[in-house]
Structures are given as structure tokens and as C-alpha cells.
Point group: C2
Chain length 373, copies 2
């Protein structure tokens, strides 16, 4: 790589204390986007409201010419067309996706990257072919017997760029045991329509329960590896760490989070909510990538005291669960609403999560600033 | 309005020199979004890539219960259902929409509001009923004879909020002569599908050629006025002015602008482009709300010298026109690509536009930072 490329692709950094958001961060915020929080209304997020993060550029792919290479340490490599995938039994799952960097811009000091606040989430109905079936045909398993040597499966997208000085196509590794789960999809439809370009057309990976980085978009390659995957996105980018040089822990499944649909009406600039005194029915959603949500608590005093919300049905294992809570908005003044979730695997959402240097998997509790009048 | 509402809804302000982007601005950038510039590839922008600006919250409207009130200074007020509109002759126009605040975050000092850089644009195919026909039925004109008293038509959306201290529903006025144009639509489809919630479902106004603020979303009222409309969005918000207290000039039609589809591959964080030495075909789009685009010039030295691009066909009067330009990327180094457009009404896009206090209608030339290797 020439000096000139390195000069425009700096290492990851943490903002100075008090440093305002930079144009570098704004440029990412203007092209990627979160889900406007009022869209917590929808069981399934309409296209265009679901959060979106693109590392490089959204590629343009001709679906008729598209092929998926299935190769690596398998006895029968495959090259599949979109029709080949569509000819299989279609499987649909409703899945909540969240960016691993959600909440990053609220950390102090702030990791400089895509500056999410609370809104990097969405729930879609994904339809596709089972990855496990395709891997089985390639010979990854022979009946119940798994190919001994297989360790990870690498998924390659068609999007290319430079990241922290390293030129790359977007590529992620996943442990074989996860890749063989029954609900992992080679998805070609979102909400009953062909995938839109920005969500990975014509085919993306969907790994229910995992943070967004695992759901590789614009998928062109599935490679079975007999050694652990050591690419940038697993080894460098998506790690929870405090020091720049420590290896850190990999980011995997989504930690529990509850979000409140902001009540009342907003102020345009501050987004503070204005609510009339009296009974306010608060609603929202909660999810976890580890297990269904078992409880949501709500606080109207910034986290000083909590009360249990009423839960609606869990629609699918890894889809958000609706909740509601009746708040008697008291005398006029300013209030801080918060919500937190816990799941069936014993994870409890913290009110303030621990800082980490890349702002990953930070499931602190949202704070909705409300004026009662 | 109580003191507490005023305390969260401050007047418009301009950032201090050197002041970083604030969380207030980031909050808007995270929920609204621009068009990722690689989507300049598409003649018609796919849903979810078109820019989006919501002043308050995206309302949820039951299309079966929705009614459009047509009233005010007309002899025959109407209440129309979605079926009533769909029963009329459908009219389709391809239209480029741009936010009047596009480019705002590049101004110095920076007006504090939705912090757009270059990307607040998109082109859609809008289908709907002719507004002029509906106004005709209500009696605004009797054959060729226009109702004498009519001055403006006010369009009311269903979205409510507080803006700069004033509680309001979103409402804009349009001169009667514009409202009666043959191509102004009560649109219920975008790109051949029912409007998505975020673009105004079930019905929005489309006024080809005007900046986005005129295309009122979630339309519920059309009111013929016998006096000039004096609501907030016309009199306070969308004005070009330098001093806080001057009335300024109204924002109306889109000034010409050309955008370059960024070539090569991006760096993740800086979005600087990396291009291989040699022939690079630059492509992009150019548009104007005053008249079709007649010329696009490209500069590879930051605006020092310019050469004419080749224009593709103008697809519809107010839709962007494609252009291309072959750039012989010279010796390795850093280059600043720019483009500028001129239209058939005599408007020439400035390289650096004049500053104004709300960052409105600022059509300075984009700058694409490129490293040739």
C-alpha cells in the first residue's frame, strides 16, 4: 500500500474529552442511518426505516449474473445462482438486527467511528435458503457426521474499501457450529420483497441473534476453513477492548436492550418530548440475541426507581418483544424516562455500560428527555 | 406555551467558529439521512436510499380512515378518500427532490440545524392525482376563470411538533399559480409502490422543481386562502437571510447542482477515494428546479480549471440528468474533483455559494477528495 493511501486511512482513535463530533463522523452519519425511534411502533420495520450501516460503498450487482461460490475445505465446491437458491424450500424468520456500535457516540471519551446514539436497530422478516443445507451439499457434513477439519466459515461480500490502512473486501468468519444452525439464512427477500440494494441485494447472510456485522451483505463467497478465520473484521474491528494493543474479546450475539417509543410530540432541534400531564401509555420493544426477553423495567426518574412493564408476545426467538407501561405523568417539569431488559439466559441490561475503546456491544439504557406540561 | 416548553425549544443559532458538531445536530443526522452518493448510479433512487427529512415524528395513518379536506375560500369544499384519489386518472412524474438545507454543515460559521453535507437528494417516480383537478372541483376555477380572491393554497400535514418555540403541525403555503400547474400531484405511489410511511403515506404533495419543504408529507388538508399564507414554515423557517431579524427571501425552486458519483473505493472513516492511475470515467447527475440542465463542467484541480462533461438525456423536466467525463488520472497524489451545472433559465452553479444564516438553498460545488495511486 502506498504512503498516500495510509495518509487518508488513519488508525482508530478516541476523541479528546469535550471534542465535538467531527466532519469524519458526520459524513458517516449522513449516509448511514438509524431507525427513527417512533418506528418502534411497527412489529416489522418498513424498508427505509430499518437501520443501515455500509462499511464501503453499496455495490451494484446484476442478480442474473450473480453467483455464490461455496468452497474451501469441502469435498464438493458449489457455484449457485439466485434461481438455485430460490428453488429450495424458502424459510422465513423475523429477526431484530442491531449494529454492534449502537450507543457509541454516548460514550466518554467517544470512540471515533460511525456515531450512533440509540437508534441502530430494526426488525425485518427475512426469507431465504438454509445455509446448513447448502453447506451439507458441499460436503461439510455427511448425515450427522461433520467434516473433522472445519473450524470457521468465512463469508465474503462484494463491497471493497480501505479500513484503518488495510484494503479489503468485507469478510467475516463464523464458527461452524453457528453456520450450521437451522435458522441461518442465505436471504434474498426482506419483508416479502427482493432485497433492496442497501440491504445486500441479491443475497445476504442472516445469523439470527448476532450483531449486524455477522449478517454479511452482497454475499459472493462462503468458504469453509480448517483454521480460525483471522481477517480484519473479526480480529481487529469487532472486538471489545480497552487498550489499543490488547486482542480483546470478539463481538458475537446481541446483548439485551429495551427502547422506549418517545411519547408526546418532539421539539424539532433538541428532540426533547412534550407530554401533557396525566396518563401516558409508554410502549416500546426489547430484544436479546441470547434468549427471549423475560422482563422490561421502566424508570421515570432517570433510573432512581423502576417498575415492571407488561410484555406482549415474543413473536420469534430473535425478534423484538413489545412492552407497555402506564405512566401517570405528574406535575409539570422535566423527567428522564429509561427502560432496561433482561433475557432468559440471565443477561440483565445495565443502566450505564462499561466503556470500551471501539464502542462495541454497549447496551446502556436509553434516556428519553420529557417535559410534562 | 409554558416556560418548560420554551426551555427545550431554543431559537435558531449559528455555531461558534470552530465549534464541533453538537449532539443536537447528530441526533437529527442519525434519524434523517442523505442518499449515499454511490446511489447516483440509479436513474430512480430505490426506496430507502432517497434522502429523508422529518421535522417532527413520522405519523402512523390508517389509509382506510384517511381523508383529505379541501376547503377555505372555495364554493364547494371536499372530503376525499384514498379511493377517491385513486379513481382519477393517474399521473406519473420523475422528480428530483433536494432538501433546501443541503450543504448546510459545510458553511462557516455553521447554521445549527439538520447538518447536511452534499447528499440530501433523491429522484423518485411519483404517481398521483392532479391537484389542479381537485382544486377545480372545489371551485377554485370555473373553466378558464380563476376565483378572484385566491392568493395562496395552504397544505397541512399530520405531523405535529414544536419548532423554535412554536407548537405547530407542519404546514406550507404555495402560490395559487403554482398549485394549479398541471404537474403538481397528490401522490400516493413512489416508484410504483404505495408511499412508504417515511415519505408521507398515504398521500403527499409533489411540486416538481421546488425544494423538499414544499412537498408536504402526510397531507390531510388543502386550504385555499384569500390572503398570503403567514405560517412558520414560510415566514420563519425557509428563508434566505443573513441577519436574525430581517425577513429575508422565501426559498422556492431548486438551484442547479451537479454531483459526482465518487470514483474508486472509499476509506471507511474519511470517505476519501482511492483510484488507480489511468483512465477514470466519472459519472454523476445534475438538476435544477428552474429549467432543464444545459451543461455540466468538471474540475480535477479543486476548481482551478474546468472542462465540459458529456450530457445524457433529460428524462423529465425536473428529474436529474446524467453526465459523464473521462478523467486521465495523472501521477500519484491527492486531487480534488468538483462539478458544476447550469440550467436553461440562466442559473450557473457557483463554486462557493454565499453564506446565509439558516443554510438554505446553498448550491456550492461538491468536492470529492481523491488519492491516485
Amino acid at each position: 500500500m502506498s504512503m498516500s493511501v495510509e495518509s487518508v486511512s488513519a488508525p482508530a482513535r478516541v476523541a479528546e474529552l469535550g471534542e465535538g463530533i467531527t466532519v469524519d463522523e458526520l459524513r458517516l452519519a449522513a449516509r448511514n442511518h438509524g431507525m427513527p425511534l417512533e418506528a418502534l411502533h411497527y412489529d416489522v420495520t418498513p424498508v427505509g426505516l430499518h437501520y443501515l450501516l455500509t462499511h464501503y460503498d453499496i455495490p451494484v450487482i446484476d442478480p442474473a449474473a450473480w453467483r455464490l461460490a461455496v468452497d474451501g475445505a469441502v469435498p464438493r465446491p458449489l457455484s449457485l445462482s439466485l434461481d438455485d437458491l430460490r428453488a429450495r424450500e424458502p424459510v422465513t424468520h423475523r429477526v431484530t438486527l442491531e449494529c454492534a456500535g449502537n450507543g457509541r457516540a454516548r460514550l466518554e471519551p467517544r470512540p471515533v467511528s460511525q456515531p450512533w446514539l440509540d437508534e441502530a436497530v430494526g426488525t425485518a422478516s427475512w426469507t431465504g435458503a438454509r445455509l446448513a443445507d447448502v453447506l451439507g451439499e458441499a460436503g461439510l457434513r455427511d448425515g450427522a457426521r461433520l467434516l473433522d477439519a472445519a473450524v470457521d466459515v468465512a463469508f465474503t461480500g462484494a463491497d471493497r474499501g480501505v479500513e484503518r490502512g488495510e484494503e479489503q473486501v468485507y469478510r467475516r468468519g463464523l464458527p461452524v457450529a453457528e453456520a450450521l444452525r437451522d435458522d441461518v439464512l442465505l436471504a434474498y427477500e426482506m419483508n416479502g420483497q427482493p432485497l433492496p440494494p442497501q440491504h445486500g441485494a441479491p443475497v445476504r447472510l442472516v445469523v439470527p441473534g448476532w450483531y449486524g456485522m455477522a449478517h454479511v451483505k452482497w454475499l459472493v463467497g462462503v468458504t469453509v476453513l480448517d483454521a480460525p478465520f483471522d481477517g480484519f473484521q473479526n480480529v481487529t474491528a469487532y472486538r471489545v477492548k480497552r487498550e489499543p494493543d490488547e486482542p480483546g474479546e470478539p463481538v458475537t450475539r446481541i446483548l439485551p436492550r429495551a427502547l422506549i417509543r418517545p411519547p408526546g410530540i418532539p421539539d424539532f432541534q433538541s428532540r426533547v418530548r412534550i407530554v401533557d400531564r396525566g396518563r401516558v401509555v409508554l410502549t416500546g420493544r426489547a430484544w436479546s440475541g441470547w434468549a427471549p426477553v423475560l422482563g422490561v423495567d421502566v424508570s421515570a426518574d432517570g433510573g432512581g426507581s423502576w417498575a415492571a412493564a407488561e410484555l406482549g408476545p415474543q413473536p420469534d426467538t430473535y425478534a423484538w418483544r413489545p412492552w407497555r407501561f402506564t405512566w401517570e405523568a405528574p406535575e409539570p417539569g422535566r423527567y428522564a424516562l429509561r427502560a432496561r431488559a433482561r433475557d432468559g439466559a440471565g443477561h440483565v441490561q445495565p443502566v450505564e455500560a462499561a466503556w470500551n475503546r471501539q464502542g462495541m456491544a454497549n447496551n446502556h439504557a436509553q434516556l428519553v428527555d420529557v417535559v410534562v406540561r
